[in-house]
Subunit: 595 residues, 2 copies
């Protein structure tokens, strides 16, 4: 595969021009010192690390996979992964977004999101090790006691240890209410955790001397279901209150999974046998504690999708320019060559532009969501923080599900452009398609995102987030009502937003009578919402590009936006028809009569 070229120019354009983060950060007390120079320096350095250290390990990590030694329970990551991790630690990347009081750099999530996309584009499997640390950091930061933060957070933030999230058990994935792992109170004020977890990313590895597990388990007096789950911090090796490392803590990896993709990411079955742990947050409130960090975790997986789209786009674009095959349908474009390059063909261009539209449009949407995280956490305006949180929690399921579903579609296009040469391992694009496949599943399936969006964020929370986002679209349309160059986008965007709003009202009315309306409409509503949200992202991108004055970029953004509006946005019609068709056509057939 062609080398990964970090899209630094587009990141700078999106951050500075489209989203105006310089002015935004200047308004946020927690980000005031983050100026354009710092942003660009971080982007450039991260791009170099991703391209030079991580990308070369992507294919080899996939081919080698992780190793498990049943006798010791030890997991070895692929050759080079540990060295890359140590370089990452030395580069100071572990604490990029972590609080300064625990040794982090405290930089905005927006910047972290851009860095994350480059890591994921270069090597998705490797990126899961720091990603899980980020989740554990968030959990401890928001819900841990002071001594827990002091003891566990600092080594994670400085990269000496990593973190995990231990949720899933064999019989419960989406439905955590079913989990069985138990926590028994001990005399020392702690707990003894016993049970079995599966699908634990980075549950065991050879990158660090200790691993900090954040574990969901039930206390003895726990009510049944999801209201009886508590969160515990359980280190792999014991840690004294003085920070001294002790012996093994009854946490062992019993197997690693053999998967379709992300072979370099260790997916572990973990056995807890009376392991010492401490309660994080309130008893029985573990699920709520988990959910407070869902926004950033789901945003991160959405960004994984975007990284894969970018990587597949770069690879298939290079190939489409080089590979000579057939003549343009209207006659030879390059008669001096044996054939025309693939990129002359209309459908090759359709597949390239589909990738570009989802990749760059999705980037704007994801980074916009990240700015909302920063407004919420780094600002001092309570009303703005509340509005940001509402809009963010509305956008998160869209960003997560639509970016990852688009990653599946787009990496399939990348393979298709390569033809038979894409199906063999040599060119690396089939790996992207295999890696992409997990992203619509973990951190909440597309189905879970859809129910979260329509059931909770729109209906239960009365569409507060949707209103903020619609207001944003309306403001754009109003501001540009007379901008002739944007007319081709403003009118359809306004219409799509109005239809979206009307559809939402209609669904709310129907759902009040029949809750199955929600379940039967949710996924189509999610995709429809995503296409409209991306239409907004493309409209503001063209407006910003026109303003910024780079004619080459302005032309490319306009062409891609036009493609989105004319070739992708119309998909909302089939989603709308599916929604309007109601629940009967999926519910009527009795379960016993499907075969």
């Amino acid at each position: 595969m062609a080398d990964y070229k970090p899209p630094l120019d587009d990141f700078r354009f999106v951050l500075h021009q489209v989203l105006g983060v310089d002015a935004l950060f200047a308004r946020l007390p927690g980000a005031r010192e983050v100026d354009a120079g710092l942003i660009d320096a971080v982007l450039e350095e991260a791009g170099r690390f991703a391209a030079q250290v991580l990308a070369p390990l992507n294919a080899s990590g996939d081919a080698e996979g992780c190793h498990f030694d049943p006798a010791s329970g030890r997991v070895s990551t692929p050759k080079g992964f540990a060295d890359a991790y140590h370089a990452y630690v030395e580069g100071g990347w572990c604490g990029l977004n972590a609080p300064a009081e625990f040794g982090g750099q405290g930089l905005p999530e927006t910047l972290g999101a851009a860095v994350k996309e480059m890591i994921d584009a270069a090597n998705l499997a490797w990126g899961n090790y720091p990603l899980l640390s980020h989740g554990a950091t968030e959990a401890l930061r928001q819900h841990g006691e002071d001594w827990q933060r002091e003891l566990f957070l600092r080594p994670i933030i400085d990269g000496r240890w990593t973190g995990t999230m231990c949720l899933t058990e064999a019989h419960c994935g989406s439905d955590l209410g079913l989990l069985r792992t138990r926590a028994q109170p001990a005399d020392d004020g702690g707990y003894r955790i016993s049970g079995d977890k599966i699908f634990i990313t980075a549950g065991e590895h050879d990158l660090t001397e200790n691993i900090v597990h954040l574990v969901l388990a039930r206390l003895p007096d726990a009510p049944a279901g999801s209201r009886g789950i508590s969160l515990f911090v359980v280190p792999k090796r014991k840690v004294g209150r003085d920070g001294q490392m002790g012996g093994e803590n009854g946490v062992v990896c019993t197997a690693i999974e053999h998967k379709m993709g992300i072979h370099g990411s260790a997916t572990c079955a973990m056995h807890f046998e009376g392991a010492e742990g401490w309660l994080v947050g309130q008893p029985h409130k573990g699920l709520a504690a988990m959910f407070t960090m869902m926004n950033t975790a789901r945003l991160a997986v959405g960004i994984q999708g975007l990284g894969l789209i970018e990587r597949g786009y770069q690879a298939s674009l290079d190939y489409a320019r080089e590979r000579l095959q057939m003549r343009d349908i209207a006659g030879a474009k390059f008669p001096e060559q044996a054939a025309d390059p693939l990129i002359v063909h209309a459908d090759i261009r359709r597949m390239l532009l589909t990738q570009k539209a989802f990749g760059e449009g999705g980037r704007v949407l994801a980074l916009h969501a990240a700015t909302l995280v920063d407004i919420e956490h780094l600002g001092d305006d309570a009303a703005a923080a509340k509005a940001a949180e509402e809009e963010l929690s509305f956008l998160i399921p869209i960003v997560k599900a639509v970016s990852t579903e688009a990653a599946i579609e787009c990496t399939q296009h990348a393979v298709q452009i390569f033809g038979g040469h894409g199906y063999i391992k040599d060119n690396g694009v089939e790996q992207l398609a295999r890696d992409a496949r997990i992203t619509t599943i973990y951190e909440g399936t597309t189905q879970i995102q859809a129910l979260d969006l329509l059931g909770r964020k729109v209906l239960q929370l009365k569409g507060a987030g949707l209103k903020h986002f619609l207001a944003r679209i309306e403001a754009f349309c109003r501001d540009h009502a007379d901008t002739a160059e944007l007319a081709e986008f403003v009118a359809p965007l306004g219409r799509a937003a109005q239809d979206w709003s009307d559809l939402t009202q209609a669904l709310a009315a129907a759902a009040a009578k029949d809750p199955e309306v929600v379940a039967a409409a949710a996924v189509d509503y999610l995709f429809l919402s995503g296409h409209v949200a991306l239409a907004w992202a493309w409209a503001i991108s063209v407006a910003a590009a026109d303003q910024a004055g780079d004619a080459r970029r302005a032309a490319a953004k306009r062409a891609t936006a036009r493609f989105h509006y004319q070739r992708l946005l119309p998909r909302i019609e089939s989603h709308r028809a599916a929604i309007h068709s109601g629940p009967a056509n999926v519910l009527d057939l009795p379960a016993g009569q499907f075969d």
Copy 2:
């Protein structure tokens, strides 16, 4: 994964009730002796072979893959593949559709197509070995000289040897006009073939003592491009005119590919070094000879897609019934259990019904296409044969591309229903998704099918095939204009057919002015055509089920048809919008400005 259950009941229903093959075969002199008893016996026996012999080798063949020994150039297939092949030969399956004069059973292609779906559902990779023999058989039967047929056809048909199609070279896949393999005339009336081929399925293996390669190559006086390609028969081991086997023939496998899927299918790089070969058909007419067998080869790959859909559907349906996770949105359906089974959830049902609709609808369409093959080849009515050939060649790109693109979509749904348990290798569904990925590429990519459909079959041939198919739809709508139970299908089907016809007219007019219209519309036109064709397949299925009187089946067919009409058919709206948007939105961005 759950055992493969051959869908014998649906095959019988589709063949006897929906397509009425018993009456059809009675009208065809070449199929007159094929009665319902014979059909059902063959189906049952094939189902048993697929389920008991092939299916158990599917996961193990994927895990083991093929082995290549660089020193000898030998390829070993996975454990059990050779034994299964020998059992297949002993069962008499090799010659199922082959002419009786060369030892075949001469049974209709329609029956062969049904058998093929079961083989592919059970073990797609294994199925490629007999599939390629089928292609070589067709080439020799239609274009070979008598002595070539006698010498090569009989051992292929009785299974002692297998065949290959050697088309692709490193620099030419879709564009065979670029190929470089040369054929030098020799004193013995034969030729010496030299060159390198890649992606040769079953190019080398350990199933048989000889392999018959059908090779495209250029004669010394060949014009450049696709009009200078000739077809040659080149055995792996030399064969005397008396049938005596000689020594090695300068044909060696130099490597096998490591691929995303179909690991058990040997994809070989082949080197020809002055190999003895004989011209098949006319000089420089090799591509035309190839195209005469494209219909059945492309139909076969479409059927591969259907086999994968059926297998993924069975697996995910079983899982959806067993796996307990969450409660129905309207309240617990099974309060006595810890949670409700997945199949209560509306979106799980949407994913199941999508698989069922594409799988069963696609089966009707593919088997209908196969009946056209039989009408063309086994009948004695020249006008009917011509009409069948025209309709068949129109339907082939639709069946091939839509079944395989649907296979990608549907196997993704199967994985999604399994969630994380689908991403790991243990449950087998991720293999289906990997295997499916090749089917939209080989035997002509979706893009090639689309250009064949719109550019050649519709525009160049003035829509002769489309007219036959539209007439079929119109006849159905007319016959059932007053059938109240079918009103929900007849009206939208009639409308969709009319719109399809109008759209085709509009495209023809626009294409006359600008050929790029064709290239920019082709893939969307293909999908739109597929959804309408499947709507016809579902309408005739419901009508037949209502007639046949099995209330359980009639209800299931109706529910699935309704799902197709209400949830899948509306996709034509987004395809129509994309087509109407014209070529500018894909062509305007200069190739140098995509990044």
